[in-house]
Amino acid sequence: MREAAVVSEPNPLQRIPGVAMVLVLLIALFSAIAPGFLSVANLSNVLVQSTILTMLALPMTLIIMTEGLDLSMGAVLTLTSLCVAIVSLATKSMLLGLGAGLLVGAAFGVANGWLVAILGIPPFVATLGTLGMAQGLSLIVSDGQSVVGIPHSVRDIYSATLLGIPVPIVMALVTYAAFHGLLYHTRFGTYIFALGGNREALRYAGLSPNRLLIAVYAIGGAMAGIAGLLMTARMNSGHPTAGLGLEFDAIAAVAVGGTSFERGNGWLLGTLLGVLAVGVLRNGLNLISLPSSVQVASVGVLVIVALFLDGLRSRA
């Protein structure tokens, strides 16, 4: 693994089939069995509902590319969503709310990165610990209650449109463009590939892998902050379990999207398609009136199958 060269080119041809096939299969399946699935209203609903997940899954892709993991993302989103609600309620300012969410999210991201990079704690345990902390802080700041009565300026973000396109979708597209540019067209992006594939090379090149790792986790935390704003706007309140399990949907999207957990090889467009696959799956199961518990279980099965296939590919 150490000898692997720095891979800076995405390798779409090998990967499009897997995740695109899953997406097409799911769409075909639900078009056939779920009445109303193919309506414009429902499809745009799927897109809008996938925006929060997009904002978590893209940074999760970068983190997994460094052979890391962030289990705390859902809990951090809960906390930032509460911060947005509390601060915007107190100051009547959406921007101050967003600022608070970003700050808290980035702080958790830096803490995750510090635990993983500097202290060398395995990522899944370090972020499990911070998951507990974020969960605890969410309960403490909200006292276990919903935060209601948030200003219109926050709520409107979820329902407003820009040139006829819902603002959450615009935000998700901008995020995707930013991540694409960052990963494939900047030196930092190349370093991210190297963090997973060849950390030694970074050190020989005179760079600090630790600082880069912290930056990657910090991006994840900050994105959880922005997604927290969307979550608060969507629920029109802050709730101490708002983000429960979202990190799992994000991991599912990344895994289905063909990013490897073992080789520092990632593909952002795959993650985007993976997000849509998870969104379509949940929406379709919802339309045929299966409860959310079944949706959770089926996303779990999706992840295990995707990881199994990933394992097969890596051995082939």
Binding site: I121, V125, G129, Q135, Q295
Partner: protein, 325 residues
């Protein structure tokens, strides 16, 4: 990538070995916490509270003891809490339907064991990294449990069955006797049987273990199945203690169990640790949470404190081992 000589020198696991010294330090820490709590709170040293701590620690220990074996092989089982919830709900249904506690207990243990076996299959046959495989399993189990229970609560179990979790024998809670039994079995199994030693060997160096003829896949299957079965046992104790079962009872169990294992000195990197250490770990965690309770700290602080403890425990472990090398 893996050096086959890594971890080749395994010190003899006799008394006053490195393990024993580590356990001794942790016992001291537990005593220190007890002393502090006795000073800070009048009710800490009351018999009722001490029995309560022991009973609470035994619940954490049941889940954590099986998990210890998994962590000894450098794996992790994140599905234990969700497994407890599913097993408790299924066992509860069986007791309600058949009226037979024995059948319910068997079903709970079997359900836990089967889930553990499935984890083992994912890790060995499908070669999915354990933390992500069992994390997927966590959500599959959560979904199944919520779907199965559909928001219902099971409650009201036979009096005899409820004795398991809430009864006393010679003045001690029955779970404490079970704790002693499983502490004994676990310690003997890990330290004094060939299979137990093979589990240490797999954790210390999987390549060397395979090359020296240890059936690695079979031992791993066993370890995950044991972890699942212990979660099944914990589900029975929970069921009889709470006298009710709900889909969400497992959500706050996984992190404390992992904390107990790590505080107890079992290394996340495999090959180092003892079941007795995990018992002390469960005791320390319970003492801290109990102390917070006695000092009337809001229960909302518990996940935060548990999270900090998990990270501190791993960090201390890595620090001491770096110094030892």
């Amino acid at each position: 990538m893996t050096d086959i000589t890594k971890g080749a020198i395994v010190p003899p696991r006799s008394f006053l070995s490195q393990d024993a010294i580590q356990v001794f330090y942790r016992l001291l820490a537990a005593l220190l916490i007890c002393a502090v709590l006795a000073v800070l709170s009048d009710s800490f040293l009351s018999l009722g509270n001490i029995l309560n701590v022991l009973r609470q620690a035994s619940l954490t220990f049941f889940i954590a003891s099986g998990l210890t074996l998994v962590v000894l092989t450098a794996g992790l089982d994140l599905s234990v809490g969700a497994n407890v919830a599913l097993s408790a709900c299924i066992a509860g249904t069986v007791i309600h339907k058949t009226g037979s506690p024995a059948l319910g207990i068997l079903t709970g243990l079997a359900c836990g064991g089967i889930v553990g076996l499935l984890n083992g299959i994912m890790v060995t046959a499908l070669r999915i990294p354990s933390f992500i495989a069992t994390y997927g399993m966590l959500w599959v189990l959560n979904g199944l449990t919520y779907w199965y229970m559909a928001g219902e609560t099971l409650h009201g179990f036979p009096a005899g069955f409820r004795q398991i979790g809430s009864g006393y024998l010679f003045g001690l809670p029955i779970p404490v006797y079970l704790l002693l039994v499983f502490l004994g079995i676990g310690t003997l199994f890990a330290q004094r049987t060939i299979w137990g030693q093979e589990i240490y060997a797999i954790g210390a160096n999987p390549v060397a273990a395979r090359l020296s003829g240890i059936p690695v896949a079979r031992r791993l299957l066993l370890v995950y199945a044991v972890s699942g079965t212990m979660a099944g046992l914990a589900s029975i104790i929970f069921l009889s203690r709470l006298n009710s079962a709900e889909a969400d009872i497992g959500e706050s169990l996984t992190l404390p169990a992992i904390a107990a294992v790590l505080i107890g000195g079992t290394s996340l990197f495999g090959g180092v640790g003892t079941v007795f250490g995990t018992f002390i770990g469960a005791l320390i965690l319970t003492l801290v949470l109990n102390g917070m309770n006695l000092l009337s700290v809001n229960a909302n602080w518990q996940p935060l404190v548990t999270g900090v403890i998990v990270i501190l425990a791993v960090w201390l472990d890595m620090k001491t081992r770096r110094r030892a090398q």
